[in-house]
């Protein structure tokens, strides 16, 4: 794009841009956030897997921890990476990349042959029906607020893997987040 076109682009807003604040200002509101009553924004934790942005409701996340030493479990399901000791509590650590179709097989992160985990990798400890469980993520991006109006159902082609772990898409400005359901993602 030419420099002039870029500037114009920045100046004019796009149809999908979030400009509710600007509109309020224009309408002369006295600064009170005038979200319509049902438009309560929900907080999500967003993270990246193989470069793609995902998010889960923040309530499902109990904590985020650096990757502790993991112990592999023999003859376990392939997506169970291992078990970790978190302040005395034993938690399983899972991989969800395979389920989401992002990788062919689970990474080798436990056992004597495993490499040192990348600096940005984290374990998200999620609350599930069967107890807390950890999920390996490549990096954690942060907390993002999404209003219900920003949520869309997943497009049919996006259903990867055989489980309905993707429950929707969240769109905030230029960013797109694939919303996951923790229970489904970790279902055996």
């Amino acid at each position: 794009m030419s420099r002039f076109a870029e500037l114009l682009d920045d100046f004019f807003f796009r149809p999908d841009e979030d400009v509710s604040g600007l509109q309020d200002f224009a309408a002369g509101s006295d600064g009170v956030a005038s979200a319509a009553p049902e438009e309560v924004p929900e907080e999500y934790l967003s993270f990246r897997l193989e470069g793609e942005a995902y998010a889960v409701p923040i309530r499902a996340v109990r904590e985020i921890s650096k990757v502790p030493p993991l112990t592999e479990i023999p003859r376990a399901e392939p997506h169970l990476l291992g078990v970790m000791n978190l302040r005395g509590e034993l938690l399983p650590a899972y991989d969800i990349k395979v389920r989401l179709g992002l990788a062919e097989r689970a990474p080798l992160v436990a056992g004597p042959d495993a490499p040192v985990p990348p600096r940005d990798a984290r374990i998200l400890v999620l609350r599930t029906e069967t107890g807390p469980a950890g999920v390996w993520v490549d990096t954690v991006s942060g907390v993002v607020k999404l209003k219900p109006s920003m949520l869309e159902p997943p497009p049919p082609g996006l259903r990867r893997g055989d489980k309905d772990c993707v429950v929707g898409i969240g769109r905030r400005g230029p960013s797109l987040y694939i919303l996951l359901d923790p229970e489904q993602a970790l279902a055996p």
């Binding site: 479990i73 023999p74 069967t130």
Partner: protein, 786 residues
């Protein structure tokens, strides 16, 4: 559901204790159906209901409070003699207890269902409606007792009732006067009570009309006994008691007739039992006393030696003891007027199915039966405690505190040593210093071990806790299954870690249910087979060194191993070839395979095919094993072997393919060093020759699918449980260590061969091997290969 708050958790803990005590008492009353109910016990249950009502009210637990109120009312009527303890009442009380448990479970979870609310309110209503007006005698026996009117006016209703009963039974009444010094009258009075208890019933304690001198206080105890005067006197020797007999005017003719009628009628009257049982004295206080100093008389155990008063009722008792039971309980609801006449004798005592009773299907019984069916249709609640608390003897805690005190002393010494080393600077540490340090460290080690043992001991609870809960359950299942059973419990005092006891409740429930449903035959079939009509189901615990063995057995039909084989073949669990090879014992063990069930009808009680493999799995998680013995026509016995404690175990740390695992040492028989060439192959199985015997052999690396490393020698850990032995080959031995095992959580339950994990100090969890599972897997592997 949000977890209950701390206050609510406390409520649940306290309420659970109350219900446990209540359940125990009800159980005894139930076992002694047909005999006179111990007034102490009824009083105990009354107090429990009263406490529960108050407690529930305090915590805003409306439903529980309402139901407790209804129960308390009923029990009050019972203990005052306004109501007779017949079958309907007892059954309703037991149902109420079940309802309480369910309500408490919901409270613990923080939920509230409408169905349960309706059930509880329905129960409360029924409790209120239950009632039978007792036989009105022409003359109040109390009138015949020559007692000062002033004194009589002071009695509570309960005391009057007890007095009336004693007089009616013709028990001698005494006034025991004793004067004590003001400084220690409480001890003196307690002592006097202790002496009196075995001799009879202390009905009331009153301040004496005659003063006890300037520095004393005197009491009059109204006492009923059947022992002779010389006996009474000798029993009270050494106490300052003076005896004065209370005269009882003889009954008039009419009242005598009424008396005879009363003893003839099959109604059960509350009286003292001639059984010397001694539950722990509850610490309940006496019912609200109106005036005066009263000792907590009712709080103790009654050990009255009163046989039933008249001979006539004695002979009738044996026969008609249950004839009162023969009265269908439902009648009492509609029949307010008079006690129905005796029906024919029916089989008595203990746990009894409906086969031995008069038919109970009457329309007024509908609500009763309906509630019964409803409760069985509800999902069977788990027998686990709702709380995670353990009762610890305070003496033990004091002992632990002392140990900590000694540890502090050692800490001080070590600090001193460290300080002196620091101050002396570059001066090389002397030999003396080294010796002192070594000594302190040894002392530290000893004290820490003692502390560890003490803490482990604090976690132990008697297995009887779970056994008692099971006893109640057995009663209900027996009734529903229409069988007749004697449930025998033994070894309840054997102690196990609380965690293990909790985990045991559900597996034991399964086994007992199976035994009652499928093991034990119906009474008629048993008679036809030449067996006694009543079956015996027994539950026994025994301590054997580091393990506890629990046996669940029945003298029923036994397991038909041919049918087992048939079913296993039909369900494709084994092949014909395998079936040929299997010995009797192996065939019996097939019942532990998942998906196995020989029940023809899938009742909601059991027979869904989920029973035994789940039991085995649960036990495996506790490092326990289960074994079965059975003989067709004779009976079946399940043996469960469990370690005494799980919390801290001694483990052997081993290395395989550069991974580390821990093996509980109590299952390790020996360790061998083996050269690869010593491994033999026998019928395509790998075995070792150990002192002339063949030992089956597996490589852990192969079993776990780990890359195998060539080694010059293997270490073979020989494990064994019961009769089986297996050698497990590992690459390295890293030593022995005391470890704290944590069970793998819910999601990790399905991992085979691993029973938990521990922390060896470098933050990386180390998996603990499930020896029993590995043993079985290893042996099965060998069998399959052959």
């Amino acid at each position: 559901m949000s977890p209950p708050s701390k206050a609510l958790a406390e409520f649940v803990a306290e309420a659970t204790e109350i219900l446990e005590a209540l359940g125990k008492d009800l159980l005894v009353l139930d076992e002694r159906r047909g005999q006179e109910a111990d007034p102490d016990r009824v009083n105990g249950i009354f107090r429990a209901a009263h406490s529960l009502k108050g407690l529930a009210g305090l915590f805003g637990q409306e439903r529980i409070s309402r139901l407790a109120h209804g129960t308390e009312d009923l029990l009050d009527r019972l203990r005052l003699g306004k109501l007779h303890l017949n079958d309907a009442v007892l059954d309703t009380l037991i149902e109420a207890l079940d309802a309480f448990q369910a309500l408490l479970a919901e409270t613990a979870r923080g939920t509230e269902t409408d169905g349960l609310t309706r059930r509880a309110d329905g129960m409360a209503e029924r409790l209120g409606r239950l009632g039978e007006v007792s036989v009105a005698l022409d003359e109040d026996p109390l009138e015949r007792l020559e007692l000062d009117a002033q004194v009589r006016s002071v009695f509570t209703e309960y005391e009057e009732h007890r007095l009336r009963e004693n007089v009616r039974k013709g028990v001698s009444m005494w006034r025991v006067r004793a004067a004590f010094d003001l400084s220690d009258f409480d001890m003196g009075l307690a002592d006097l009570n202790t002496r009196l208890k075995p001799l009879g019933e202390v009905i009331s304690t009153l301040p004496s009309a005659q003063p006890g001198g300037a520095h004393g206080i005197a009491f009059d105890l109204i006492f009923g006994t059947q022992v002779s005067l010389p006996e009474l006197e000798s029993g009270l020797k050494g106490t300052p008691a003076e005896l004065a007999r209370l005269a009882v005017r003889p009954a008039t003719i009419r009242s005598a007739e009424a008396l005879v009628r009363a003893t003839e009628s099959p109604a059960i009257v509350l009286g003292t039992l001639g059984v010397a049982s001694a539950p722990e004295a509850s610490t309940g206080t006496s019912p609200p006393s109106k005036r005066g100093v009263r000792a907590a008389v009712e709080g103790g155990t009654h050990q009255s030696l009163l046989p039933l008063a008249s001979e006539r009722s004695d002979t009738e008792q044996g026969e008609t003891g249950a004839s009162a039971h023969g009265v269908p309980g439902q009648e009492s609801e509609s029949d307010e007027e008079h006690v129905p006449s005796a029906k024919g004798p029916s089989l008595v005592t203990y746990l009894q199915g409906p086969g031995g009773r008069a038919p109970a299907a009457t329309p007024p019984g509908a609500p009763h039966a309906g509630a019964g069916a409803a409760s069985s249709a509800l999902a069977e609640p788990s027998l686990r405690s709702l709380t995670q608390t353990v009762r610890v003897d305070i003496g033990k805690l004091d002992g632990l505190i002392n140990m900590v005190g000694e540890l502090l002393l050692i800490k001080a010494s070590l600090q001193r040593l460290a300080e002196s080393a620091r101050q002396d600077g570059v001066v090389p540490l002397s030999k003396l210093f080294g010796q002192e340090l070594a000594r302190e460290t040894r002392g530290l080690e000893r004290k820490l071990e003692a502390l560890q043992e003490g803490l482990l001991e604090a976690r132990m609870v008697p297995v009887g806790q779970v056994f008692d809960k099971l006893a109640r359950l057995v009663r209900r299942i027996t009734r529903e299954a229409g069988k007749e059973i004697d449930f025998v419990i033994g070894g309840g005092e054997v102690e196990l870690d609380k965690l293990i006891v909790e985990e045991l409740s559900d597996p034991l429930m399964h086994l007992i249910r199976n035994a009652i449903d499928h093991g034990v035959e119906s009474p008629d079939m048993r008679l036809a087979a030449g067996k006694p009509r009543r079956a015996v189901v027994s539950l026994r615990a025994e301590q054997k060194g580091n393990h506890v063995v629990i046996q669940v057995s029945d003298d029923g039909a036994g397991i038909d191993e041919l049918r087992v084989r048939e079913v296993a073949l039909t369900r494709g669990l084994i092949t014909h070839a395998q079936a040929e090879e299997m010995g009797r014992r192996e065939l019996l063990n097939l019942i532990f395979l998942p998906g196995f069930s020989t029940a023809r009808s899938v009742s909601e009680l059991s027979g869904r095919g989920v029973g035994l493999d789940v039991v085995k799995n649960n036990l495996g998680n506790l490092s326990g094993i289960i074994d079965v013995w059975s003989e067709r026509g004779k009976g079946t016995a399940f043996h469960l072997t469990l370690p005494v404690t799980l919390a801290i175990i001694r483990a052997l740390v081993v290395g395989v393919s550069a991974r580390t695992y821990a093996v509980p040492l109590n299952s390790v028989l020996e360790i061998l060093s083996v050269q690869p060439r010593e491994i033999r192959t026998m019928e395509r199985r790998e075995v070792l020759d150990v002192r002339g015997q063949t030992l089956p052999f597996v490589r852990l690396s192969r079993l776990f699918g780990l890359p195998e490393r060539p080694v010059s020698r293997y270490f073979v850990v020989v494990v064994g449980l019961a009769q089986e032995r297996l050698g497990i080959a590992v690459d390295e031995l890293h030593g022995q260590q005391d470890i704290v095992t944590k069970p793998l959580g819910g999601r990790l339950q399905s991992v085979r061969g691993i029973s938990g994990a521990t922390d060896l100090g470098n933050r990386r969890p180390v998996l603990v091997l499930d020896v029993a599972a590995l043993l079985e897997e290893g042996l099965a592997l060998e069998r399959r290969r052959a």
